[in-house]
Symmetry: C2
Subunit: 326 residues, 2 copies
Protein backbone atom coordinates (compact mmCIF):
# COMPACT_ATOMS: atom_id res chain seq x y z
CA UNK A 1 0.00 0.00 0.00
CA UNK A 2 1.45 3.36 -1.00
CA UNK A 3 2.19 5.76 1.84
CA UNK A 4 0.25 9.02 1.59
CA UNK A 5 3.29 11.01 0.47
CA UNK A 6 4.04 8.60 -2.39
CA UNK A 7 2.68 9.32 -5.82
CA UNK A 8 0.30 6.79 -7.30
CA UNK A 9 1.27 5.21 -10.57
CA UNK A 10 -1.05 7.50 -12.55
CA UNK A 11 0.67 10.60 -11.13
CA UNK A 12 4.12 9.43 -12.22
CA UNK A 13 5.63 10.40 -15.57
CA UNK A 14 5.51 7.65 -18.20
CA UNK A 15 8.65 5.92 -19.51
CA UNK A 16 8.51 3.29 -22.26
CA UNK A 17 10.62 0.11 -22.09
CA UNK A 18 10.67 -2.32 -25.01
CA UNK A 19 12.85 -4.97 -23.32
CA UNK A 20 13.95 -4.55 -19.69
CA UNK A 21 17.58 -3.57 -19.10
CA UNK A 22 19.27 -5.64 -16.36
CA UNK A 23 19.60 -2.61 -14.10
CA UNK A 24 15.82 -2.21 -14.34
CA UNK A 25 15.26 -5.81 -13.26
CA UNK A 26 17.68 -5.43 -10.33
CA UNK A 27 16.24 -2.11 -9.09
CA UNK A 28 12.68 -2.37 -10.43
CA UNK A 29 11.03 -1.46 -7.12
CA UNK A 30 13.03 1.73 -6.80
CA UNK A 31 12.53 2.70 -10.44
CA UNK A 32 8.77 2.14 -10.14
CA UNK A 33 8.51 4.46 -7.15
CA UNK A 34 9.73 7.32 -9.37
CA UNK A 35 8.30 6.61 -12.83
CA UNK A 36 5.42 4.78 -14.44
CA UNK A 37 6.91 2.27 -16.83
CA UNK A 38 5.01 1.23 -19.95
CA UNK A 39 6.24 -2.34 -20.46
CA UNK A 40 6.03 -3.36 -24.09
CA UNK A 41 7.65 -6.74 -23.39
CA UNK A 42 4.80 -7.80 -21.11
CA UNK A 43 2.22 -7.31 -23.85
CA UNK A 44 1.23 -10.16 -26.18
CA UNK A 45 0.92 -7.57 -28.99
CA UNK A 46 3.63 -7.25 -31.63
CA UNK A 47 5.89 -4.27 -30.84
CA UNK A 48 4.59 -2.13 -33.70
CA UNK A 49 0.98 -2.65 -32.67
CA UNK A 50 1.79 -2.12 -28.99
CA UNK A 51 3.49 1.18 -29.75
CA UNK A 52 0.66 2.39 -32.02
CA UNK A 53 -1.87 1.56 -29.33
CA UNK A 54 -0.17 2.50 -26.06
CA UNK A 55 2.81 4.74 -26.76
CA UNK A 56 1.48 7.60 -28.87
CA UNK A 57 1.94 10.12 -26.08
CA UNK A 58 5.20 8.68 -24.71
CA UNK A 59 8.00 11.23 -24.27
CA UNK A 60 10.79 9.08 -22.78
CA UNK A 61 12.21 5.65 -23.63
CA UNK A 62 14.61 3.58 -21.50
CA UNK A 63 16.66 0.84 -23.19
CA UNK A 64 19.80 -1.28 -22.89
CA UNK A 65 22.38 -1.90 -25.58
CA UNK A 66 20.47 -5.08 -26.48
CA UNK A 67 17.51 -3.14 -27.90
CA UNK A 68 18.08 -1.45 -31.25
CA UNK A 69 16.39 1.93 -31.39
CA UNK A 70 16.05 2.21 -35.15
CA UNK A 71 14.49 4.93 -37.29
CA UNK A 72 11.52 2.56 -37.74
CA UNK A 73 10.96 2.30 -34.00
CA UNK A 74 11.38 6.05 -33.60
CA UNK A 75 8.82 6.68 -36.38
CA UNK A 76 6.21 4.86 -34.27
CA UNK A 77 6.81 7.24 -31.36
CA UNK A 78 5.72 10.67 -32.60
CA UNK A 79 5.99 12.44 -29.23
CA UNK A 80 9.32 10.90 -28.13
CA UNK A 81 11.83 13.46 -26.87
CA UNK A 82 14.32 11.34 -24.86
CA UNK A 83 16.14 8.01 -25.16
CA UNK A 84 18.05 6.90 -22.03
CA UNK A 85 20.28 3.86 -22.39
CA UNK A 86 21.72 1.77 -19.56
CA UNK A 87 24.95 1.40 -21.56
CA UNK A 88 27.99 3.52 -22.30
CA UNK A 89 27.92 2.62 -26.00
CA UNK A 90 25.17 4.09 -28.17
CA UNK A 91 25.76 2.14 -31.38
CA UNK A 92 22.30 0.54 -30.93
CA UNK A 93 20.57 3.94 -31.26
CA UNK A 94 20.02 5.73 -34.58
CA UNK A 95 21.69 8.94 -33.48
CA UNK A 96 21.23 10.68 -36.82
CA UNK A 97 17.49 10.19 -36.64
CA UNK A 98 17.44 11.34 -33.01
CA UNK A 99 19.37 14.45 -33.97
CA UNK A 100 17.04 15.14 -36.88
CA UNK A 101 13.96 14.76 -34.70
CA UNK A 102 15.46 16.70 -31.78
CA UNK A 103 15.28 13.63 -29.53
CA UNK A 104 17.75 13.85 -26.66
CA UNK A 105 19.93 10.85 -25.80
CA UNK A 106 21.59 10.03 -22.46
CA UNK A 107 24.01 7.22 -21.69
CA UNK A 108 25.72 6.04 -18.49
CA UNK A 109 28.93 7.92 -19.29
CA UNK A 110 31.68 7.01 -16.81
CA UNK A 111 29.64 4.92 -14.37
CA UNK A 112 31.07 1.63 -15.59
CA UNK A 113 34.58 2.76 -16.55
CA UNK A 114 36.40 1.41 -13.49
CA UNK A 115 34.53 -1.89 -13.49
CA UNK A 116 35.37 -2.58 -17.12
CA UNK A 117 39.02 -1.62 -16.55
CA UNK A 118 39.09 -3.95 -13.54
CA UNK A 119 37.71 -6.82 -15.61
CA UNK A 120 40.31 -6.16 -18.32
CA UNK A 121 43.13 -6.39 -15.77
CA UNK A 122 41.49 -9.35 -14.04
CA UNK A 123 41.24 -11.25 -17.34
CA UNK A 124 44.86 -10.44 -18.14
CA UNK A 125 46.16 -11.65 -14.78
CA UNK A 126 43.91 -14.66 -15.08
CA UNK A 127 45.13 -15.74 -18.51
CA UNK A 128 48.83 -15.00 -17.82
CA UNK A 129 48.85 -16.56 -14.36
CA UNK A 130 46.28 -19.31 -15.14
CA UNK A 131 44.05 -18.51 -12.16
CA UNK A 132 40.78 -19.93 -13.51
CA UNK A 133 42.68 -22.98 -14.71
CA UNK A 134 44.26 -23.35 -11.25
CA UNK A 135 40.86 -23.14 -9.58
CA UNK A 136 39.56 -25.95 -11.80
CA UNK A 137 42.74 -27.91 -11.13
CA UNK A 138 42.43 -27.72 -7.34
CA UNK A 139 38.71 -28.49 -7.46
CA UNK A 140 39.57 -31.61 -9.46
CA UNK A 141 41.66 -32.77 -6.49
CA UNK A 142 45.04 -32.04 -8.10
CA UNK A 143 48.04 -30.16 -6.70
CA UNK A 144 50.74 -27.90 -7.99
CA UNK A 145 53.68 -29.98 -9.08
CA UNK A 146 51.85 -30.95 -12.27
CA UNK A 147 50.61 -27.41 -12.88
CA UNK A 148 52.23 -25.53 -15.78
CA UNK A 149 54.15 -22.27 -15.30
CA UNK A 150 52.43 -19.01 -16.13
CA UNK A 151 53.84 -15.67 -17.22
CA UNK A 152 54.87 -12.62 -15.23
CA UNK A 153 53.01 -9.33 -15.67
CA UNK A 154 55.98 -7.10 -14.89
CA UNK A 155 57.91 -6.00 -17.95
CA UNK A 156 55.19 -7.05 -20.39
CA UNK A 157 54.66 -4.57 -23.22
CA UNK A 158 50.92 -3.91 -23.22
CA UNK A 159 49.34 -2.25 -26.23
CA UNK A 160 46.00 -0.63 -25.49
CA UNK A 161 43.70 -0.37 -28.50
CA UNK A 162 41.57 2.71 -27.87
CA UNK A 163 42.81 4.98 -25.11
CA UNK A 164 39.48 6.42 -23.98
CA UNK A 165 38.41 6.56 -20.36
CA UNK A 166 38.48 2.75 -19.98
CA UNK A 167 41.82 2.41 -21.78
CA UNK A 168 43.36 5.08 -19.55
CA UNK A 169 42.18 3.28 -16.42
CA UNK A 170 43.59 -0.01 -17.72
CA UNK A 171 46.90 1.76 -18.35
CA UNK A 172 46.97 3.25 -14.86
CA UNK A 173 46.39 -0.17 -13.27
CA UNK A 174 48.90 -2.04 -15.44
CA UNK A 175 51.64 0.50 -14.80
CA UNK A 176 51.39 -0.42 -11.11
CA UNK A 177 52.23 -4.01 -12.12
CA UNK A 178 55.34 -2.87 -13.98
CA UNK A 179 53.85 -3.26 -17.45
CA UNK A 180 55.10 -1.03 -20.26
CA UNK A 181 52.14 0.70 -21.89
CA UNK A 182 51.69 1.99 -25.43
CA UNK A 183 48.49 2.55 -27.41
CA UNK A 184 46.71 2.77 -30.72
CA UNK A 185 44.15 5.40 -31.61
CA UNK A 186 43.32 7.35 -34.74
CA UNK A 187 45.07 10.42 -33.40
CA UNK A 188 47.86 10.83 -30.86
CA UNK A 189 46.62 12.14 -27.52
CA UNK A 190 48.65 15.22 -26.61
CA UNK A 191 47.99 14.82 -22.87
CA UNK A 192 49.41 11.27 -22.76
CA UNK A 193 53.08 10.28 -22.67
CA UNK A 194 52.68 6.61 -23.70
CA UNK A 195 54.06 5.78 -27.15
CA UNK A 196 51.37 6.08 -29.83
CA UNK A 197 50.96 3.82 -32.87
CA UNK A 198 48.52 4.94 -35.54
CA UNK A 199 48.53 1.43 -37.02
CA UNK A 200 47.23 -1.44 -34.85
CA UNK A 201 49.62 -3.82 -36.61
CA UNK A 202 52.57 -1.66 -35.56
CA UNK A 203 51.23 -1.66 -32.01
CA UNK A 204 50.93 -5.47 -32.08
CA UNK A 205 54.47 -5.84 -33.41
CA UNK A 206 55.72 -3.92 -30.37
CA UNK A 207 53.47 -5.59 -27.78
CA UNK A 208 53.30 -8.80 -25.73
CA UNK A 209 49.65 -8.14 -24.91
CA UNK A 210 46.84 -6.27 -26.68
CA UNK A 211 43.92 -4.97 -24.61
CA UNK A 212 40.95 -3.94 -26.77
CA UNK A 213 39.10 -0.97 -25.24
CA UNK A 214 37.84 1.00 -28.26
CA UNK A 215 34.28 1.60 -29.42
CA UNK A 216 32.81 -0.52 -32.22
CA UNK A 217 32.46 1.62 -35.35
CA UNK A 218 32.67 1.00 -39.08
CA UNK A 219 36.38 1.80 -38.77
CA UNK A 220 37.07 -0.62 -35.88
CA UNK A 221 34.99 -3.55 -37.20
CA UNK A 222 37.45 -6.48 -37.63
CA UNK A 223 40.34 -4.10 -37.00
CA UNK A 224 42.10 -6.89 -35.09
CA UNK A 225 42.47 -9.16 -38.10
CA UNK A 226 44.83 -11.88 -39.26
CA UNK A 227 47.69 -9.43 -39.87
CA UNK A 228 47.43 -7.84 -36.43
CA UNK A 229 47.19 -11.23 -34.70
CA UNK A 230 50.15 -12.47 -36.67
CA UNK A 231 52.13 -9.38 -35.63
CA UNK A 232 51.23 -10.06 -31.99
CA UNK A 233 52.72 -13.52 -32.42
CA UNK A 234 53.08 -16.85 -30.65
CA UNK A 235 54.03 -15.36 -27.29
CA UNK A 236 51.26 -12.77 -27.46
CA UNK A 237 48.06 -12.48 -25.45
CA UNK A 238 44.86 -10.62 -26.22
CA UNK A 239 42.18 -9.25 -23.90
CA UNK A 240 38.90 -7.91 -25.30
CA UNK A 241 36.52 -5.95 -23.07
CA UNK A 242 35.09 -3.79 -25.87
CA UNK A 243 32.96 -5.50 -28.55
CA UNK A 244 33.42 -8.91 -30.11
CA UNK A 245 33.18 -7.64 -33.68
CA UNK A 246 36.30 -5.48 -33.32
CA UNK A 247 38.23 -8.76 -33.60
CA UNK A 248 37.93 -11.17 -36.52
CA UNK A 249 36.72 -13.90 -34.21
CA UNK A 250 37.15 -16.79 -36.65
CA UNK A 251 40.77 -15.80 -37.13
CA UNK A 252 41.27 -15.36 -33.38
CA UNK A 253 39.89 -18.83 -32.69
CA UNK A 254 42.12 -20.32 -35.37
CA UNK A 255 45.20 -18.58 -33.90
CA UNK A 256 44.35 -19.80 -30.38
CA UNK A 257 43.79 -23.38 -31.54
CA UNK A 258 46.95 -23.48 -33.64
CA UNK A 259 49.13 -21.75 -31.07
CA UNK A 260 49.72 -18.72 -33.30
CA UNK A 261 48.94 -16.55 -30.31
CA UNK A 262 49.47 -17.67 -26.71
CA UNK A 263 46.13 -16.96 -25.09
CA UNK A 264 43.12 -14.70 -24.65
CA UNK A 265 40.82 -13.24 -22.01
CA UNK A 266 37.46 -12.58 -23.63
CA UNK A 267 34.60 -10.65 -22.12
CA UNK A 268 32.83 -10.10 -25.45
CA UNK A 269 32.08 -12.19 -28.52
CA UNK A 270 31.04 -11.56 -32.10
CA UNK A 271 27.59 -13.14 -31.84
CA UNK A 272 26.56 -13.05 -28.20
CA UNK A 273 25.26 -15.06 -26.46
CA UNK A 274 26.84 -17.58 -28.83
CA UNK A 275 30.44 -18.40 -27.92
CA UNK A 276 32.34 -20.48 -30.50
CA UNK A 277 32.23 -24.08 -29.25
CA UNK A 278 35.92 -24.65 -29.78
CA UNK A 279 36.79 -21.89 -27.26
CA UNK A 280 34.98 -23.83 -24.53
CA UNK A 281 37.58 -26.59 -24.77
CA UNK A 282 40.73 -24.44 -24.80
CA UNK A 283 43.02 -24.11 -21.78
CA UNK A 284 44.64 -20.90 -22.95
CA UNK A 285 41.52 -18.74 -22.75
CA UNK A 286 39.44 -17.22 -19.96
CA UNK A 287 35.81 -16.57 -20.92
CA UNK A 288 33.42 -14.09 -19.36
CA UNK A 289 29.76 -13.52 -20.33
CA UNK A 290 29.94 -9.77 -21.17
CA UNK A 291 29.43 -8.75 -17.58
CA UNK A 292 32.23 -6.22 -17.09
CA UNK A 293 29.77 -3.80 -15.55
CA UNK A 294 28.02 -6.32 -13.33
CA UNK A 295 28.74 -5.08 -9.83
CA UNK A 296 26.35 -4.16 -7.06
CA UNK A 297 27.98 -0.76 -6.86
CA UNK A 298 27.80 0.08 -10.57
CA UNK A 299 24.23 -1.11 -10.86
CA UNK A 300 23.34 1.22 -8.02
CA UNK A 301 25.23 4.11 -9.58
CA UNK A 302 23.63 3.50 -12.96
CA UNK A 303 20.15 3.32 -11.36
CA UNK A 304 20.80 6.73 -9.83
CA UNK A 305 22.18 8.21 -13.05
CA UNK A 306 19.35 6.88 -15.23
CA UNK A 307 16.74 8.13 -12.76
CA UNK A 308 18.57 11.44 -12.58
CA UNK A 309 18.52 11.82 -16.35
CA UNK A 310 14.79 11.02 -16.47
CA UNK A 311 14.02 13.46 -13.62
CA UNK A 312 16.08 16.19 -15.28
CA UNK A 313 14.28 15.65 -18.55
CA UNK A 314 10.82 15.80 -16.99
CA UNK A 315 11.79 18.95 -15.06
CA UNK A 316 13.16 20.58 -18.22
CA UNK A 317 16.64 20.67 -16.76
CA UNK A 318 19.81 19.74 -18.71
CA UNK A 319 20.53 16.00 -18.88
CA UNK A 320 23.26 14.74 -16.54
CA UNK A 321 25.01 12.75 -19.28
CA UNK A 322 23.84 13.92 -22.71
CA UNK A 323 25.26 12.10 -25.73
CA UNK A 324 24.22 14.70 -28.34
CA UNK A 325 24.92 18.42 -28.12
CA UNK A 326 21.94 20.05 -26.47
Amino acid sequence: MAASHEKTSSELRKVLILKPPNVFLVHENLFCQRFHFVKAWESPLPTNQFLSTYAQSIEALFCSSLTCITADILSLLPTLRLVVTSSVGVDHIDLNECRRRGIKVANTAEVFTDDVADIAVGLLIDVLRKISAADKFVRAGLWSSEFPLGYKLGGKRVGIVGLGSIGLQVAKRLEAFGCIVSYNSRTKKPSVSFPHYADPRELALNSDVLVICCALTDQTYHMINKEVLSALGKQGFIVNVARGAIVDEKELVRCLVQGEIAGAGLEVFADEPNVPDVLLELNNVVLSPHRGVYTEESFWDSYELISGNLESFFCNKPLLTPVLDE
Copy 2:
Protein backbone atom coordinates in the same frame (compact mmCIF):
# COMPACT_ATOMS: atom_id res chain seq x y z
CA MET B 1 78.64 -35.18 -25.32
CA ALA B 2 80.25 -32.40 -23.32
CA ALA B 3 82.07 -29.76 -25.31
CA SER B 4 85.77 -29.55 -24.54
CA HIS B 5 85.39 -26.33 -22.53
CA GLU B 6 82.69 -27.82 -20.32
CA LYS B 7 83.67 -29.37 -17.04
CA THR B 8 82.96 -33.05 -16.54
CA SER B 9 80.70 -34.01 -13.68
CA SER B 10 83.65 -34.98 -11.46
CA GLU B 11 85.24 -31.56 -11.85
CA LEU B 12 82.08 -29.76 -10.72
CA ARG B 13 81.45 -28.84 -7.09
CA LYS B 14 79.04 -31.11 -5.24
CA VAL B 15 75.61 -29.96 -4.07
CA LEU B 16 73.25 -32.20 -2.10
CA ILE B 17 69.52 -32.32 -2.83
CA LEU B 18 67.18 -34.36 -0.62
CA LYS B 19 64.01 -33.73 -2.66
CA PRO B 20 64.17 -31.77 -5.91
CA PRO B 21 62.81 -28.22 -5.84
CA ASN B 22 60.54 -27.40 -8.79
CA VAL B 23 63.00 -24.88 -10.19
CA PHE B 24 65.57 -27.69 -10.28
CA LEU B 25 63.23 -29.91 -12.29
CA VAL B 26 62.45 -27.09 -14.73
CA HIS B 27 66.09 -26.03 -15.26
CA GLU B 28 67.87 -29.31 -14.45
CA ASN B 29 70.01 -29.30 -17.59
CA LEU B 30 71.34 -25.83 -16.87
CA PHE B 31 71.94 -26.55 -13.19
CA CYS B 32 73.81 -29.74 -14.04
CA GLN B 33 76.19 -27.92 -16.35
CA ARG B 34 77.39 -25.86 -13.37
CA PHE B 35 77.26 -28.24 -10.37
CA HIS B 36 77.36 -31.93 -9.59
CA PHE B 37 74.16 -32.75 -7.76
CA VAL B 38 74.06 -35.59 -5.23
CA LYS B 39 70.47 -36.77 -5.48
CA ALA B 40 69.30 -38.39 -2.27
CA TRP B 41 65.74 -38.85 -3.60
CA GLU B 42 66.94 -41.17 -6.38
CA SER B 43 68.50 -43.59 -3.91
CA PRO B 44 66.55 -46.53 -2.48
CA LEU B 45 68.41 -45.98 0.83
CA PRO B 46 66.65 -44.27 3.76
CA THR B 47 67.72 -40.62 3.98
CA ASN B 48 69.83 -41.10 7.12
CA GLN B 49 71.74 -44.01 5.63
CA PHE B 50 72.17 -42.21 2.31
CA LEU B 51 73.60 -39.16 4.04
CA SER B 52 75.96 -41.23 6.22
CA THR B 53 77.21 -43.05 3.15
CA TYR B 54 77.37 -40.42 0.41
CA ALA B 55 77.24 -36.97 1.98
CA GLN B 56 80.00 -36.88 4.57
CA SER B 57 82.08 -34.43 2.56
CA ILE B 58 79.15 -32.34 1.25
CA GLU B 59 79.52 -28.59 1.77
CA ALA B 60 76.36 -27.25 0.10
CA LEU B 61 72.72 -28.28 0.22
CA PHE B 62 69.91 -27.06 -2.07
CA CYS B 63 66.30 -27.41 -0.90
CA SER B 64 62.77 -26.08 -1.38
CA SER B 65 60.36 -25.03 1.35
CA LEU B 66 58.90 -28.55 1.21
CA THR B 67 62.04 -30.12 2.73
CA CYS B 68 62.55 -29.52 6.43
CA ILE B 69 66.21 -28.97 7.23
CA THR B 70 66.12 -29.98 10.88
CA ALA B 71 68.92 -30.17 13.44
CA ASP B 72 68.80 -33.97 12.95
CA ILE B 73 69.43 -33.66 9.22
CA LEU B 74 72.17 -31.11 9.84
CA SER B 75 73.85 -33.43 12.38
CA LEU B 76 74.28 -36.02 9.60
CA LEU B 77 76.16 -33.49 7.45
CA PRO B 78 79.35 -32.70 9.39
CA THR B 79 81.04 -30.67 6.63
CA LEU B 80 77.97 -28.68 5.55
CA ARG B 81 78.60 -24.94 5.25
CA LEU B 82 75.72 -23.69 3.07
CA VAL B 83 71.97 -24.21 2.73
CA VAL B 84 70.36 -22.59 -0.35
CA THR B 85 66.58 -22.65 -0.52
CA SER B 86 64.44 -22.01 -3.60
CA SER B 87 61.94 -20.18 -1.40
CA VAL B 88 61.66 -16.76 0.19
CA GLY B 89 60.50 -18.21 3.50
CA VAL B 90 63.04 -20.07 5.66
CA ASP B 91 60.72 -21.47 8.32
CA HIS B 92 61.60 -24.99 7.10
CA ILE B 93 65.27 -24.50 8.07
CA ASP B 94 66.54 -24.71 11.65
CA LEU B 95 68.21 -21.31 11.58
CA ASN B 96 69.42 -21.48 15.18
CA GLU B 97 71.32 -24.68 14.47
CA CYS B 98 72.73 -23.18 11.26
CA ARG B 99 73.86 -20.11 13.18
CA ARG B 100 75.44 -22.27 15.91
CA ARG B 101 77.28 -24.38 13.36
CA GLY B 102 78.30 -21.39 11.21
CA ILE B 103 76.31 -22.74 8.25
CA LYS B 104 75.37 -19.98 5.82
CA VAL B 105 71.81 -19.76 4.49
CA ALA B 106 70.63 -18.13 1.25
CA ASN B 107 67.04 -17.64 0.07
CA THR B 108 65.52 -16.22 -3.11
CA ALA B 109 64.94 -12.81 -1.51
CA GLU B 110 62.90 -10.54 -3.82
CA VAL B 111 62.83 -12.76 -6.93
CA PHE B 112 59.23 -13.80 -6.38
CA THR B 113 57.88 -10.63 -4.77
CA ASP B 114 56.09 -9.25 -7.82
CA ASP B 115 54.64 -12.60 -8.84
CA VAL B 116 53.15 -13.22 -5.41
CA ALA B 117 51.75 -9.68 -5.28
CA ASP B 118 50.25 -10.24 -8.74
CA ILE B 119 48.59 -13.46 -7.61
CA ALA B 120 47.19 -11.70 -4.54
CA VAL B 121 45.60 -9.01 -6.70
CA GLY B 122 44.50 -11.58 -9.28
CA LEU B 123 42.77 -13.66 -6.59
CA LEU B 124 41.10 -10.55 -5.18
CA ILE B 125 39.76 -9.41 -8.57
CA ASP B 126 38.74 -12.99 -9.26
CA VAL B 127 36.73 -13.47 -6.08
CA LEU B 128 35.15 -9.98 -6.13
CA ARG B 129 34.33 -10.02 -9.83
CA LYS B 130 33.64 -13.80 -10.04
CA ILE B 131 35.99 -14.37 -12.98
CA SER B 132 36.71 -18.07 -12.43
CA ALA B 133 33.01 -18.62 -11.77
CA ALA B 134 32.18 -16.75 -15.00
CA ASP B 135 34.62 -18.89 -16.98
CA LYS B 136 32.95 -22.07 -15.68
CA PHE B 137 29.56 -20.52 -16.40
CA VAL B 138 30.35 -19.75 -20.05
CA ARG B 139 32.02 -23.14 -20.57
CA ALA B 140 28.79 -24.74 -19.30
CA GLY B 141 26.98 -23.04 -22.18
CA LEU B 142 25.29 -20.36 -20.05
CA TRP B 143 25.10 -16.60 -20.57
CA SER B 144 25.06 -13.51 -18.47
CA SER B 145 21.49 -12.63 -17.58
CA GLU B 146 21.46 -15.38 -14.98
CA PHE B 147 24.92 -14.50 -13.66
CA PRO B 148 25.05 -12.85 -10.22
CA LEU B 149 26.48 -9.37 -9.67
CA GLY B 150 30.00 -9.04 -8.29
CA TYR B 151 31.62 -6.31 -6.27
CA LYS B 152 33.62 -3.27 -7.32
CA LEU B 153 37.28 -2.95 -6.32
CA GLY B 154 37.31 0.85 -6.18
CA GLY B 155 36.64 2.24 -2.72
CA LYS B 156 37.17 -1.08 -0.96
CA ARG B 157 39.10 -0.75 2.31
CA VAL B 158 41.90 -3.30 2.01
CA GLY B 159 43.81 -4.31 5.13
CA ILE B 160 47.20 -5.81 4.40
CA VAL B 161 48.44 -8.20 7.09
CA GLY B 162 52.23 -7.94 6.96
CA LEU B 163 53.58 -4.99 5.03
CA GLY B 164 56.88 -6.50 3.86
CA SER B 165 58.07 -6.38 0.28
CA ILE B 166 55.09 -8.42 -0.99
CA GLY B 167 52.58 -6.44 1.06
CA LEU B 168 53.99 -3.16 -0.25
CA GLN B 169 53.69 -4.37 -3.85
CA VAL B 170 50.10 -5.47 -3.22
CA ALA B 171 49.38 -2.00 -1.79
CA LYS B 172 50.93 -0.26 -4.79
CA ARG B 173 48.79 -2.28 -7.21
CA LEU B 174 45.54 -1.92 -5.28
CA GLU B 175 45.92 1.85 -4.94
CA ALA B 176 45.81 2.00 -8.75
CA PHE B 177 42.36 0.36 -8.55
CA GLY B 178 41.12 3.00 -6.11
CA CYS B 179 41.31 0.75 -3.03
CA ILE B 180 41.96 2.34 0.36
CA VAL B 181 44.92 0.62 2.00
CA SER B 182 45.78 0.15 5.66
CA TYR B 183 47.94 -2.51 7.31
CA ASN B 184 48.80 -4.56 10.34
CA SER B 185 52.30 -5.27 11.54
CA ARG B 186 53.97 -5.56 14.93
CA THR B 187 55.46 -2.10 14.60
CA LYS B 188 54.38 0.93 12.59
CA LYS B 189 56.58 1.51 9.55
CA PRO B 190 57.86 5.09 9.64
CA SER B 191 58.39 5.24 5.86
CA VAL B 192 54.78 4.35 5.07
CA SER B 193 51.77 6.67 5.18
CA PHE B 194 49.03 3.99 5.22
CA PRO B 195 47.10 3.76 8.52
CA HIS B 196 48.64 1.18 10.86
CA TYR B 197 46.76 -1.16 13.18
CA ALA B 198 48.81 -3.08 15.74
CA ASP B 199 45.87 -5.45 16.31
CA PRO B 200 44.69 -7.58 13.37
CA ARG B 201 41.14 -7.50 14.76
CA GLU B 202 41.16 -3.70 14.63
CA LEU B 203 42.40 -3.89 11.04
CA ALA B 204 39.60 -6.33 10.16
CA LEU B 205 36.98 -4.09 11.79
CA ASN B 206 38.10 -1.28 9.47
CA SER B 207 38.49 -3.37 6.29
CA ASP B 208 36.31 -4.85 3.53
CA VAL B 209 39.17 -7.13 2.47
CA LEU B 210 42.13 -8.69 4.29
CA VAL B 211 45.18 -9.71 2.25
CA ILE B 212 47.53 -11.97 4.21
CA CYS B 213 51.18 -11.34 3.25
CA CYS B 214 53.12 -11.94 6.48
CA ALA B 215 55.63 -14.68 7.33
CA LEU B 216 54.53 -17.72 9.33
CA THR B 217 56.04 -17.52 12.82
CA ASP B 218 54.98 -18.60 16.31
CA GLN B 219 53.37 -15.17 16.62
CA THR B 220 51.42 -15.31 13.35
CA TYR B 221 50.22 -18.95 13.67
CA HIS B 222 46.38 -18.81 13.65
CA MET B 223 46.55 -15.03 13.98
CA ILE B 224 43.51 -14.78 11.67
CA ASN B 225 41.15 -16.51 14.06
CA LYS B 226 37.44 -16.52 14.80
CA GLU B 227 37.54 -13.03 16.33
CA VAL B 228 39.37 -11.49 13.36
CA LEU B 229 37.06 -13.18 10.84
CA SER B 230 34.03 -12.06 12.79
CA ALA B 231 35.39 -8.50 12.78
CA LEU B 232 35.85 -8.71 9.00
CA GLY B 233 32.18 -9.62 8.76
CA LYS B 234 29.57 -10.84 6.30
CA GLN B 235 30.54 -8.42 3.53
CA GLY B 236 34.25 -9.15 4.02
CA PHE B 237 36.67 -10.98 1.74
CA ILE B 238 39.99 -12.60 2.56
CA VAL B 239 42.98 -13.36 0.32
CA ASN B 240 45.86 -15.50 1.60
CA VAL B 241 49.11 -15.70 -0.35
CA ALA B 242 51.34 -16.27 2.69
CA ARG B 243 50.97 -19.55 4.61
CA GLY B 244 47.83 -21.54 5.35
CA ALA B 245 48.55 -21.85 9.06
CA ILE B 246 48.37 -18.08 9.60
CA VAL B 247 44.60 -18.53 9.30
CA ASP B 248 42.54 -20.84 11.51
CA GLU B 249 41.42 -22.80 8.47
CA LYS B 250 38.60 -24.71 10.16
CA GLU B 251 37.11 -21.43 11.31
CA LEU B 252 37.60 -19.87 7.87
CA VAL B 253 35.81 -22.78 6.19
CA ARG B 254 32.96 -22.53 8.69
CA CYS B 255 32.63 -18.77 8.05
CA LEU B 256 32.63 -19.29 4.27
CA VAL B 257 30.03 -22.06 4.46
CA GLN B 258 27.76 -20.16 6.83
CA GLY B 259 28.08 -16.81 5.05
CA GLU B 260 29.83 -15.17 7.99
CA ILE B 261 32.38 -13.81 5.54
CA ALA B 262 31.59 -13.15 1.88
CA GLY B 263 34.39 -14.97 0.08
CA ALA B 264 38.05 -15.94 -0.15
CA GLY B 265 40.91 -16.26 -2.62
CA LEU B 266 43.27 -18.91 -1.30
CA GLU B 267 46.72 -19.67 -2.63
CA VAL B 268 47.82 -21.55 0.50
CA PHE B 269 46.27 -24.08 2.85
CA ALA B 270 46.98 -25.40 6.33
CA ASP B 271 47.87 -28.95 5.29
CA GLU B 272 49.02 -28.81 1.67
CA PRO B 273 48.43 -30.57 -0.64
CA ASN B 274 45.23 -31.35 1.22
CA VAL B 275 42.49 -28.78 0.57
CA PRO B 276 39.40 -29.11 2.79
CA ASP B 277 36.80 -30.96 0.69
CA VAL B 278 34.04 -28.52 1.51
CA LEU B 279 35.98 -25.66 -0.13
CA LEU B 280 35.89 -27.52 -3.44
CA GLU B 281 32.12 -27.12 -3.57
CA LEU B 282 31.87 -23.42 -2.65
CA ASN B 283 31.08 -20.72 -5.22
CA ASN B 284 32.45 -17.88 -3.11
CA VAL B 285 36.09 -19.05 -3.15
CA VAL B 286 38.88 -19.13 -5.71
CA LEU B 287 41.48 -21.84 -5.08
CA SER B 288 45.08 -21.91 -6.27
CA PRO B 289 47.64 -24.68 -5.63
CA HIS B 290 50.37 -22.59 -3.90
CA ARG B 291 51.85 -21.52 -7.20
CA GLY B 292 52.17 -17.77 -6.71
CA VAL B 293 55.77 -17.94 -7.89
CA TYR B 294 55.14 -20.21 -10.85
CA THR B 295 56.10 -18.09 -13.83
CA GLU B 296 58.62 -18.77 -16.56
CA GLU B 297 60.32 -15.49 -15.74
CA SER B 298 60.62 -16.05 -11.98
CA PHE B 299 61.81 -19.61 -12.41
CA TRP B 300 64.54 -18.30 -14.68
CA ASP B 301 65.46 -15.53 -12.22
CA SER B 302 65.53 -17.96 -9.32
CA TYR B 303 67.68 -20.41 -11.29
CA GLU B 304 70.16 -17.59 -11.84
CA LEU B 305 70.07 -16.45 -8.22
CA ILE B 306 70.45 -19.95 -6.76
CA SER B 307 73.34 -20.70 -9.11
CA GLY B 308 74.86 -17.34 -8.25
CA ASN B 309 74.68 -18.07 -4.53
CA LEU B 310 76.30 -21.48 -5.04
CA GLU B 311 79.06 -20.02 -7.25
CA SER B 312 79.73 -17.24 -4.74
CA PHE B 313 79.98 -19.75 -1.91
CA PHE B 314 82.40 -22.04 -3.76
CA CYS B 315 84.54 -19.00 -4.74
CA ASN B 316 84.57 -17.76 -1.14
CA LYS B 317 82.70 -14.62 -2.14
CA PRO B 318 79.81 -13.12 -0.15
CA LEU B 319 76.42 -14.71 -0.84
CA LEU B 320 74.10 -12.71 -3.08
CA THR B 321 71.10 -13.12 -0.76
CA PRO B 322 72.27 -14.19 2.73
CA VAL B 323 69.59 -14.85 5.34
CA LEU B 324 71.91 -14.81 8.36
CA ASP B 325 74.43 -12.10 9.16
CA GLU B 326 77.73 -13.11 7.64
